[in-house]
Symmetry: D2
Subunit: 334 residues, 4 copies
């Protein structure tokens, strides 16, 4: 029998999950929920059983076994608490929240109720990045020593979005912070940031930056570096490299096609896939598939609440380092 | 309203189409049909409206608008005739038949009835190959002069399959023959074959070969070459190159991931995707999508009955060249 | 003590050898010889001991141990005979001659006198091609099955040159014929040619072509294909691939640099090195170094008179196949 | 007429220059000088006019126009002063010295005497790195924003060498510091270091490290990062990337060959060239060629004394940052 689910919040990422889930065997989208939903949505979302504007309706349905929380970040903690108290399995988009007190409250409720909880770090499900972990786990890299992550967006977000984004570290680098932990299998001890506004001067008024290099010192002694830019004209630049005593695994960009064109001006290859919806399309499908497998007890959750909080701790440390110019120790979950 | 369809023949390729179509918006799989179907199939194919063993049932349903013919090749012509006479739009797997007289009969009925007809040359829908055509059509290659196709399977088919396959040219090279026409946009005037049995000696008893190099002379004077092997240990090797007066477009293999591993033994990249179900997964979805768009009158069929017959004419010429050792002129459709 | 040598014929390739040899330890360029030499040459070639116009002077010098014959091809046989009779070790440019009777006469004198003789197939000394042979000899490829050579010049020769070149097979493909034997380690049984004039219509008046695909059937059953073009706008295209039962070795083009440029138009890499003087610069130095090692008895000649004749036999067969349209058996040395 | 030169110090790098210079047109190696030279050296260095043990002999020769100083770093300043006072053009290996007072004294004498002076930052003459600068200067990158340098040796130096090396920043990173300035065309304002001993524990007793990540803040606001390791098992890893508002130029490693091997284990490419003598062989020849062109007044020196001192200032700042854990401002020349 199919698992009945609800998607709460039908923004860009809610729609990604809708598209993937309507194609997934064994899943029935019983509800979609959005405060902006109106009469036209039933036609727009034909695979959705019911369209509602109040998420309590979803949580009150005894048919619904699991919910995907895709509302704005500041709402995550309260929605998590309500869903956990309603006994629903929860998939929550990243970051799990902005306010630390709220996050820890939500965390406590999730632990107390024992519901299945997964945070949406989709890049953990990318084939090329997973391959690095395969090499690491097989011992092919020996002792890991240096981790390098390049993460550049093809275009900066709108200033309206920047305003509510939580800043580059919480909004964009948070994925890289999670990758730093996931790819290395290690925790970060401290970090140091150099950042600047080189792309969009207007961003300064929001105390934000658009270009950053973050260096990491891991607890086991290994070192790491993340470089971020809000605008790479050639497309979404997502490369990771793990260097160790016995070798290096390097994940290069995924291109639009494998076709090159040689002319008197050189040999041109295709660009990296444009943005996250292209590059990580398959990873998004895999992360929700994995979530439902965890809901069905087939394996542990691959991306836990703790992972969600630790990434936030890294973002907080980065913010402080940018402000003070100093190396900053990364805090623990509590 | 959804288009209702039937899939006739649920072998390997019928299942590929089933999987794609059940995820396609606007399509309802009203019937699946296979002579081997039994009571367990309704559970096995939950998205199929009805499971039947006699394809006449499918054709007689007035709900069904289109059928996919995925039965063994020798049955294609008669199934095409019946489906056309029933007024169904037809998607037929390649090759359209073995016996020339039967093929032409089926062709006539399709023309007379005027039903939409598409042949299953899935590679026309591969992103990397399409990119070559884009470069050609944009004039970036100037006057095309040389076409090169490398097409190697990862493992030879079973001898049982070889027996009924129609031979390497009809079974395997037929895709490359279609690609030769599609990528160049030109017709082949004559061809010459060198072939041998280098992989599986047993294949000889069926008058077949497993390794071939076919050279092509196009009507417009350009030249081409196809090299085939039934066994590339490193995986499915599918590369195409179109060389012209102003440049060359080259489609390389699609790999399992973009991750490399550098060690003291060299720098290892991932292998080409294993076989056609991996490499062309997306192309299979695109070809049926394109078929239904043609059914709905959104554009012309991208892969016509004529294309199906011309590829067969090339396969027939190749067979003759292998036998006689001579250059052989390629026959017209009739 | 340095080996004293003479270079006979100071055209393009004579100058290449001059440049390499003046830098080679243990070599003294005692003579350069060219019928066009005049008083200005002593300044132009400061490292040359003497500049002469008559090659007999070089051969008569008892100091000279070895000569490099770089005169036009039609003169090769008589110069070889004179040099062999003078007891000089001989390095002769490819092809060893045009007229078969003359070639065999020269061959006999070389055998009778027992002088060291090397023919100038420089590509045997290219690092990337040698690497294919390494893989083959190490057994990494298993049983070789298919050989593929792409060989395209960046620009066609002048019509003046075409006139005396001996035709594309004797002038250009001869290198590829030698590579076919060298890379495979096998002899060719027969071949078939498709050729055309697609680049320079004027070439037709000399009964020559500018585009060709030559397929090869080897004595051990393996197959091969060479594709030639006189004009690749993106530069000198020199790729070789040897495919076998256990793997494939593929030598790609050598580029001007390893630097790519990613912009909104794609990712551009550098072009292949422009032409043979760039791509094979290092190979030219290695071939003469190897020759002098053979002169000093350090190893056998790596590229023999027999190799020179066999390549010519392949060129002759290609000419015939182009004329008749038939598969042609390759003749033995005698 | 040939320029007469002397090479002072015949260690590893002195021998590299000897080998290049003996092949260079217009150069006569009048002297080689080394305190360890003995009677056997005349045979060992046949192209050297005279072999001496006291460098004053070289400086006193009125024939000698230029000297290459290849002695241990601590001797550089006094040798520079003597050579400048003798009116010789000077090519001095990097770094120009260890002791700041001595360096500035030498700098003053060079300026006062006006002799031509070049420091041996060979990487400025690498084709792939130069290509990045070409793209930058052509405006293809727009406004440079992020510079990334990966620089890893294939094996750590001996502990004996580590002892006198001046530490990783002065010995190894100094090249990368120069590259940071050369590739960006900008000066560094401040830097921050994370470093550790992850490869050779014994190195700790010399207060040195073997793994480092250095982040750079440039005066114009752009950011940079250098990552160093003393041991990459796959060979010398030398990559540079300059990212800007309009594109990115990326110089990848130069490989031993362009040949790949595809087997059932993946597709293996050749490794990066083993170490600096392989990778930068051509760059070493180009840097001395450029020096002699500057000596002959054909162009300005491409790598000045100031460049040598600025790289040292960066190394000094890195040392301090490693010690204090803080961001450190880079000092000016004086």
């Amino acid at each position: 029998m199919a698992t009945k689910i609800g998607i709460i919040g039908m923004g860009r990422i809610g729609n990604v999950h809708y598209k993937n889930l309507k194609q997934m065997s064994g899943i029935t989208i019983e509800y979609i929920c959005d405060i902006k939903a109106d009469d036209t949505w039933e036609e727009k979302y034909p695979e959705a059983g019911k369209v509602v504007t109040d998420y309590h309706e979803v949580l009150e349905s005894s048919d619904v076994e699991a919910v995907l929380i895709c509302v704005p970040t500041n709402l995550h903690p309260s929605f998590i608490i309500d869903a956990a108290n309603a006994g629903k399995a929860i998939f929550c988009e990243k970051p799990v929240g902005f306010n630390n007190e709220d996050i820890l409250k939500a965390y406590k409720v999730v632990k107390d109720t024992g519901v299945v909880f997964q945070v949406g770090f989709n890049r953990r499900f990318d084939d090329s990045f997973d391959r690095i972990v395969d090499y690491r786990d097989a011992g092919n890299l020996g002792q890991p020593q240096v981790l390098k992550i390049t993460s550049r967006d093809p275009e900066p977000p709108s200033l309206d979005y920047v305003k509510v984004s939580g800043g580059i570290f919480m909004d964009m680098t948070i994925h890289d912070f999670d990758m730093a932990r996931f790819i290395s299998g290690q925790e970060v001890e401290s970090l140091h940031v150099f950042g600047n506004v080189l792309i969009e001067p207007e961003i300064k008024q929001y105390n934000d930056i658009d270009t950053a290099i973050i260096t990491l010192k891991f607890k086991n002694g290994m070192l790491g570096v993340i470089d971020n830019s809000r605008k790479a004209v050639y497309g979404y630049d997502q490369r990771i490299e793990l260097f160790g005593s016995e070798g290096m695994a390097h994940a290069d960009n995924v291109l639009d096609s494998q076709t090159t064109y040689a002319s008197k001006n050189g040999v041109v290859g295709d660009k990296p896939m444009w943005f996250f919806l292209q590059r990580y399309m398959k990873a998004y499908a895999k992360e929700t598939k994995s979530f439902f497998e965890a809901v069905h007890g087939e394996h542990d959750v691959e991306c836990t609440f703790e992972d969600g909080i630790r990434a936030i701790r890294l973002a907080e440390a980065a913010k402080e380092s940018l402000k003070t110019g100093n190396e900053v120790k990364v805090k623990d979950i509590f």
